[in-house]
């Protein structure tokens, strides 16, 4: 698929994870911004309309649920969680459809990113 010009926001409180995701996604031709927490993610989403947000569940200043509620327009959302006390059913009921569980390989992640953007 042609990904040129598609904008992705990566939200994770771990710097290494942000860097790695950014690097891999850029290699595939995406334009990637990063945010280290819920607040800065919402700030960034206010300024720019992203095609996709990839978000960790728990961050020191909030959770993926808050980021999800701040989505605007047609922005897609993928939750990448280490382990969640919330089961998938509950997340689905809140509207979060795409859930990946760490550790996921980057190939799989890219596959899912592409599938989500085509949908």
């Amino acid at each position: 698929m042609d990904v040129n010009g598609l904008q992705i926001l990566v939200v994770d409180d771990e710097a290494e994870i942000r860097q790695l995701l950014q690097m891999q996604l850029k290699r595939k031709g995406f334009i990637v911004d990063t945010a280290e927490g819920a607040t800065s993610a919402i700030d960034k989403m206010d300024k720019k309309i992203y095609d996709l947000v990839i978000c960790d569940f728990r961050m020191p200043d909030g959770t993926a649920l808050e980021v999800f509620q701040g989505l605007r327009g047609k922005t897609r959302f993928i939750l990448v969680s280490g382990y969640s006390e919330m089961d998938e059913e509950r997340l689905h009921s809140l509207g979060i459809q795409e859930i990946l569980v760490k550790p996921v390989s980057f190939d799989k992640l890219i596959e899912r990113v592409q599938a989500t953007l085509i949908n």
């Binding site: 728990r58 280490g82 919330m86």
Partner: protein, 478 residues
Amino acid sequence: MSHDHRLLGRQLAKMGLSAEKPPQSSDQWREFLDRVSKAYNDYDEDRYLLERSLDVSAQEMKDRFHKINLLVDQLQCNQGVLSNLIHDRPIEKIMGDLVVDVESRLNGFKGAIFSVEPGLGKLKFLAGPSLPASITEMLASGQVPPAYCPCHQAMEQKIVVSVVTEGVSEKNSMWRKMGIGACHAFPVLDDAGVVVAVFALYASDRLPLRVEESELMSSLSQVVQMTFSFLEIKEALNRENMASIARSKLQTLGELAGGVAHEINNPLFILQGYIDVIRAAIEDKQLDPGELSTICESMSSNVHRVAKIVNTLRTFSRDGSRDPLEPVRVKTLIEDAMELSSKRYDEVRFEVNMSEADAESVVLCRPIEIVQVVINLLNNAYYAVKNEENAWVQLEVRRAGQALEVRVTDSGHGIDEAVVKQLFQPFVTTKPVGEGTGLGLSISKRIMESHEGQLFYNAKNPNTQFVMQLPILNQVAA
């Protein structure tokens, strides 16, 4: 007339006799004598019966008195044993004191108590504090051949076995060499009729056992029996106690599993990322040694991160209840607890308030146990609010005089008064079946008390707050 006995007066009146009218005929005189004789006979019989019943009552009183005396002896011995039991003294000391107590009630005998090793049919020497060392060594070493040993026979036959070394035999010469002239062995049976111990009396002279002594011994063997069954119950309770602590720990570990998975999965995700980077670099044939070495370092630090979590978990899962108290920095305790529990708070906001100075203070504790209590409180707090809007959990460390306080507060609004009353009782839980053993708080409280600290629910806080207190040790740990 008036001074005659009333009955005599009536008899005389019937016969028409009086002092003024003495008997006139021999018949009349005979009748009079018969009546007097009968009166004497009746009197004799009455006196005999009275004396006889007095004799019987006196004997009965004597028997009762004797029994009461035995009971008093038994009670006095019991008292000594109980005081030892209350102070948690070892069985050798309890039995040793009992032997001395019994010896003071007997003449010339020295006592010893053996326990029966269940299933083995063997005797184990427990105590014989008044016997000379040469004899106790012999008894304790088990060198006395069972066939020569009255204690062994008493155990096997469940009867009192007495040996007084009269005549010359191999057996007797052995006893004499040991300086023993007589031995009387009493089996101690439990309620089911199983021999649990043997109480032996030794004398250097050929001293037979008197009936009173024999009675006293059978009464006192009940004290021995009671002591043994008490110790058995105590041991069973101890085992149950240990088992319940282990169960509650397993429960805590289960609750932690989620958080640990989260903590491990993040570094694993990063490792996976680097592997993907290296793979891509190999495919593109762009391997830059400098970049590779940076990646290796990052990978290594993430491997260490995983190892640290696993180690903390392993340390925590170990049984720490018998560890010695050691000085530990508060920071270490809190970090270990956080390592294992904080990261699972997906939807719950979590906050730690701890000043640098308080973090550096030192407490004397068994760290594994204290970490267990902190984790337990955090887990409870998390469980209580996890499904609520804007939920938070706060852990606060502060000094309160000579004590260090760890306060765990959640966004809930306190606990129902009826529940508060039984919060620290074992097996009280508000969690659904299968989710909680109801042991967490009762065991946590016990752990804090064994550290001379406290654990309590603070009803004054508008939110739900538990406070643990530990005495502070003022020097900084090495």
